[in-house]
């Protein structure tokens, strides 16, 4: 069960030993950074967080956005209990893992093993708990015999593996991240991402400060926009991003953006209708092709039929000739009388039919007559 409650938290860093003669009116401040304010005649401070109230419960994945110096990191550290604000109230329930100071307390002269132990103790775990996790950490960082050597002998990437393995070894109720973590070569990167993802999934609350909006869209369900130490917007990721993006534009830019959006919409419409037309044309061509094929098949069938008929006619003719020949033979005999005129009639009939068929076939070939 994790929960975070901040009420009216204001945090300012006193600037000690700076030149006070330079006047710095806060309303003229532009660019990155929080407001600079003179608290009294003696002290001048950077107001890193001003009147922040925030409540988070289990399941919340909060993204923090805002330009450099807007207080994102400070807010993370306030929640982690590193900075204790002089004004306001904070209550945090749950074990916190702050992944913003990887490699804190790494002892270059100590061996990898020793460093794993120290970093576990630093994170607030008992020695036994760290020893329990030791095999997993060793397995994960794949440093082999190097773990017996002082960390100063490691390359940057190897040291990073060790730090990452230590930082992500223990599950936490509350996970705080300053930019999404990454470490190592491509192979390790893969493994690291899986592990981090798991850690995030198993945490009750996750807070991620990032400039990468796509990472935030992917990992967060809430978003807070900090601007010069103030909470400008808090809500769902899409809502706050919309507000954030809109707010960063001048009126002309907003108009421009609107125009651009309108233009884009118009383009999309034009494109869509063009596509529709193209599609229709394509469909037409397809249909025509299909029709052609069908017609071809019909013509083939008809030709076949005609050929069949021609053959049939031929056969009939042959039969008739044969019969006539028989009849002629029979005419020579008394029984064959009267058959000759009938045969002649049959013959002319067959001839006429073939001609008709031919004519019809020719007619079919003409496409216009089909439609």
């Amino acid at each position: 069960m994790a929960s975070i409650l901040l009420q009216n938290v204001t945090l300012s860093y006193p600037i000690l030993g700076s030149d006070r003669s330079k006047v710095m009116p806060e309303d003229r401040l532009s660019g990155a950074g929080s407001l600079i304010r003179d608290d009294s005649s003696r002290t001048r401070s950077v107001v890193a967080l001003e009147n922040i109230s925030l409540e988070l419960k289990d399941g919340d994945r909060l993204g923090l956005i805002g330009r450099n110096g807007s207080g994102k990191s400070t807010l993370l550290r306030v929640i982690a209990g590193v900075f204790e604000p002089l004004e306001g109230y904070i209550r945090v329930e749950g074990h916190i893992a702050g992944l913003f100071s990887l490699g804190l307390g790494i002892q270059p002269e100590a061996t990898g093993y020793k460093n794993i132990l120290i970093s576990g103790l630093m994170a607030g775990f008992r020695r036994e708990e760290v020893l329990e996790k030791l095999p997993e950490i060793i397995d994960f960082c794949e440093l082999g015999e190097y773990l017996d050597m002082p960390v100063r002998t490691y390359s940057n990437g190897m040291a990073m593996r060790l730090k990452f393995a230590c930082a992500t070894a223990f599950n936490a109720d509350i996970l705080l991240m300053d930019e999404w973590l990454g470490a190592g070569d491509p192979e390790f990167q893969d493994k690291a991402q899986k592990r981090l993802r798991k850690l995030v999934d198993e945490a009750g609350i996750m807070i991620l400060a990032s400039h990468n909006h796509s990472v935030i869209r992917r990992s967060c369900n809430k978003l807070a926009w900090l601007d010069r130490g103030q909470l400008r917007a808090f809500g769902t990721v899409e809502d706050v991003l919309e507000i954030y993006e809109t707010a960063h534009l001048t009126p002309e830019e907003i108009a421009e953006r609107e125009a651009a959006r309108e233009e884009a919409r118009r383009k999309r419409r034009v494109e869509a209708s063009r596509a529709r037309r193209r599609e229709a044309k394509r469909e037409e061509v397809r249909q025509a092709k299909l029709e052609d094929a069908r017609r071809q098949r019909r013509i083939e069938a008809r030709r076949e039929k005609r050929r069949e008929e021609a053959r049939e006619a031929k056969r009939g003719e042959l039969r008739a000739q044969r019969r006539q020949a028989e009849r002629v033979e029979q005419q020579d005999k008394p029984s064959g009388k009267g058959t000759k005129p009938r045969l002649a009639k049959q013959r002319t009939e067959a001839k006429g039919k073939a001609a008709q068929n031919r004519k019809a076939g020719r007619k079919q070939l003409n496409p216009t007559s089909d439609r």
């Binding site: 982690a80 590193v82 209550r91 020793k114 120290i118 994170a123 607030g124």
Partner: protein, 271 residues
């Protein structure tokens, strides 16, 4: 795991006590880190931490060689006098020097995670104690060579040294805080301590300097030294010195706690 629940923004006194309790309870961490500090300081040396012993012995030897001639006592007594006095001085001055920058040198850690300030004090004191142990080897050797058999009275030296340790906690918090806020302090203290080395009866005896001692006895370090040295060396208990040391310890402890209550959460902003 620590930090199951925490609340900020109220009860500074309770928070200060919590800081101290958390700091002490994480003894495995400060032990490990103190040892690592020493490892780092003597990295890749052949005799390692024995360099402390060696340099301590050398320093005592030279002091005895030069100042022994002026001392109105025999060599055996004077050698042990210097060794015990210098041992106590080394612990005190290193406590003050380390205490001055205990938070400044831990800046990265203090800003990197939620760690009790007491932890850094514990690391520093543990480190001083380890080094003191190696110095003490010389003291023990000299006491053995000159056959100084400690009596039961010598246990008062242990009491005195325990008070040293208590004071060094207070001194770490007080000077650590002040030197973090006011960076001139560390340099001022360094300068003062260099002078105090000569104004404290380490390599001279109070009898030697005559009327000057009347003023120098207001030097609190003198009483710290005497409270530790006399029971071991002469078997007597300097009652007045003990009273002074006790009073100073009490004042330091109370003021250090008060300062911790006020400055605990501010120190990080002064780094």
């Amino acid at each position: 795991m620590s930090l199951a629940v925490y609340e900020l923004g109220k009860g500074q006194r309770a928070a200060a006590i919590q800081d101290i309790a958390d700091g002490f309870s994480r003894w495995r961490l400060w032990m490990a880190l103190a040892l690592e500090d020493i490892n780092r300081r003597f990295k890749r040396t052949y005799i390692g931490v024995l360099w402390t012993t060696l340099s301590f012995a050398l320093f005592v030897g030279v002091k005895v060689l030069i100042f022994g001639r002026m001392a109105p006592t025999d060599d055996a007594f004077f050698t042990n006098y210097v060794a015990l006095g210098f041992f106590a001085w080394m612990y005190i001055s290193s406590s003050i020097a380390d205490g001055s920058n205990v938070f400044v040198v831990s800046e990265g850690w203090i800003k990197g995670g939620r760690l009790p300030l007491t932890l850094f004090v514990c690391i520093s004191i543990t480190r001083s104690l380890i080094l003191a142990f190696y110095n003490f080897l010389v003291v023990v050797a000299l006491l053995a060579i000159y056959k100084v058999a400690p009596s039961w009275t010598a246990l008062w030296s242990v009491v005195a040294f325990s008070l040293f340790i208590l004071c060094s906690f207070a001194i770490h918090f007080i000077l650590g805080t002040l030197c973090t806020r006011f960076r001139d302090m560390a340099h001022l203290i360094q300068a003062i301590m260099r002078v105090m080395f000569f104004l404290t009866p380490i390599f001279w005896l109070p009898e030697q300097i005559g009327p000057l001692w009347r003023y120098l006895q207001y030097n609190p370090f003198a009483h710290f030294l005497m409270a530790f040295r006399d029971p071991l060396l002469t078997g007597t208990v300097p009652v007045q010195s003990f009273q002074i040391v006790l009073a100073i310890t009490a004042v330091l402890l109370v003021s250090s706690f008060t300062l911790l209550v006020f400055a605990r959460r501010r120190i990080i902003f002064w780094l």
